[in-house]
């Protein structure tokens, strides 16, 4: 039996054909760019008053464990540093502020203070980190759920009339001074977002490129699962079911503020934790707001601000904050959504929803 492939027995034409075929095959095999699915490892930690879920794709268990441990340390540190009242960096600042005299602060707190100032401006004051006294009055300043009763109108007016605002603070280098004794800093409206941003930065510095950090439902995702993008489910504010899903492109944060997260009922009325800085009372027209944006701290602050803005003003605030992808659900269940978000979101049961697509969001 002759040996297979004896090319000496081929004529010139066959040989040429063979050579060309080999080249073509090699060429085309280089073309197919197959993405491998990456293995996903997940673990949870209890920190910052919630469950933080870390998912990382494409790393081995050893790397994951180290990264997870680092993140846990980060979060614990941030939780202590930014608590407005319990012993820590921010608590110290809040003790000194009412004295209305200059004192020095640490560089880490400088950053979060500056970021929150920018966001207070762009949200036209609807996100206000200086109303810590008001938040404490409503008892939403601790991890534990409050019981009520709600504060009296007089108590609220006392703080409100002083108009506590980040503008009352002057920051010169690391020197801080307050001109308003009612100003107490509480970064609750965007602290989670800020913490998630820091955590993602840390992940990246360790070389991780595909991950989700989900802090009690608010998350930032980077990269993908390899061959498939990360898929996020958005839960219905009223029921336990998933209302919509979203595929992550690149590096995105998804933050939701809702009236069902922290609240108490007192004498038949519900009071939740998102206080309208203008009225001093919980914002009443909104049920939940979901914001999609690259930076988590911006998404977090925007979700808070848009919630306060309500169905009438949310578009204006979204524009001033540079938010293009957002969705607001009002008390009746009506869904207001920017067109850019509407184009990419997949509603689970679209027919059952009353959807109103916004025309007024710039870039949205």
């Amino acid at each position: 039996m002759p040996l297979p492939g004896d090319y000496r027995q081929m004529n010139k034409r066959s040989r040429l054909f063979l050579v060309i075929s080999v080249f073509l095959i090699l060429f085309f095999s280089a073309c197919s760019e197959k993405k491998e699915p990456l293995n996903v490892l997940e673990e949870k930690m209890l920190v910052m008053g919630t469950i933080v879920n870390v998912s990382i794709a494409g790393e081995d268990q050893k790397t994951f464990d180290k990264v997870f441990h680092d993140l846990l340390t980060d979060f614990k540190y941030m939780q202590a540093a930014w608590n407005p009242w319990k012993k820590g960096s921010l608590a110290r600042i809040n003790q000194l502020l009412p004295m209305q005299a200059s004192f020095s602060i640490g560089p880490a707190l400088k950053e979060i203070l500056e970021r929150s100032t920018e966001l207070e401006e762009s949200s036209q004051g609807l996100f206000n980190p200086a109303i810590g006294k008001l938040v404490k009055l409503w008892q939403f300043h601790e991890d534990e759920m409050p019981e009520g009763p709600p504060p009296s109108a007089e108590q609220i007016q006392k703080i409100l009339s002083a108009k506590p605002d980040v503008d009352n603070l002057t920051l010169d280098g690391l020197s801080l001074k307050s001109s308003n004794p009612e100003v107490i800093l509480d970064f609750g409206g965007f602290a989670k977002g800020f913490a998630v941003d820091k955590a993602i930065e840390h992940l990246r510095s360790l070389g991780v490129q595909n991950a989700i950090i989900n802090a009690g439902g608010d998350l930032r995702a980077i990269g993908s699962k390899g061959d498939k993008p990360w898929v996020i489910g958005i839960r219905n504010p009223r029921a336990e079911s998933i209302i919509a899903s979203l595929e992550i492109k690149g590096d995105e944060s998804v933050f939701t503020s809702g009236d069902y997260e922290r609240f108490y009922d007192y004498k038949g009325k519900r009071y939740h934790h998102i206080i309208d800085p203008r009225t001093g009372y919980p914002a009443v027209e909104t049920s939940s707001v979901t914001v999609v944006h690259n930076i988590a701290s911006v998404a977090d602050a925007a979700a808070t601000a848009l919630f306060v803005a309500g169905p009438k003003k949310w578009e204006e605030i979204a524009n001033s904050m540079g938010i293009t992808q957002a969705m607001l659900i009002d008390k009746s269940g009506k869904v207001y959504i920017s067109s850019s978000l509407n184009n990419r979101i997949k509603f689970v049961n679209k027919e059952s929803l009353d959807i109103h697509i916004s025309e007024n969001i710039i870039g949205g």
Partner: protein, 174 residues
């Protein structure tokens, strides 16, 4: 003084058949597969053919060369895909060895190449599944894929076995 390597006849056989198998393997890598890991594995026809013509050890050479060189060309050498291919190939060669010994003991009515092809395909796919399940994705959802993968192994094993039988007859005539 130039070092001269004169390949033995067996070396040439292995090289030529391996090249053939590699060519088929690379071509096949261009095909999309609905679930990663499910491929017809037509290059196995060469392995089976070589086994029928020259025996287990030659077939082993051809198979290993196909997996290693094939992965070098396609660009997946030492990647997870390669680990899967390699472990699958080892498992199917082991199955081949066992079945061959078994056949030798039987003397007379022995297993046809079709059965061998099917058992090899199942061994290959099962090992790949185990490697993925144990080392890569220990997820319950993976188990749902197992019956599908095994069915595919059965089908493609049958096809490969039949083709091998057909080709062998044609060659053996010459």
């Amino acid at each position: 003084m130039l070092l001269q390597i004169t390949p033995a006849r067996e070396d040439i056989i292995i090289a030529r058949f391996a090249a053939l198998a590699i060519g088929i393997h690379v071509l096949e890598s261009l095909l999309p597969s609905p679930i990663p890991g499910i491929k017809p594995g037509f290059a196995n026809i060469i392995t089976l053919l070589v086994f029928m013509l020259y025996g287990v050890s030659t077939a082993t050479w051809v198979s290993i060369l196909r997996v290693v060189v094939g992965s070098l060309i396609v660009g997946t050498f030492l990647s997870p895909t390669f680990v899967l291919s390699f472990s699958g190939a080892l498992a199917s060669l082991l199955a081949l060895y066992v079945l061959d010994r078994f056949n030798q003991k039987l003397d007379g009515e022995s297993l046809s190449i079709l059965s061998i092809a099917i058992v090899m395909a199942i061994a290959h796919m099962a090992t790949q599944f185990l490697v993925v399940y144990v080392f890569f994705i220990p997820h319950n959802a993976m188990l749902d894929l197992l019956p599908v993968m095994m069915t595919a192994a059965l089908i493609f094993g049958t096809i490969n076995g039949l083709i091998t039988h057909n080709v062998y007859n044609r060659i053996a005539r010459k």
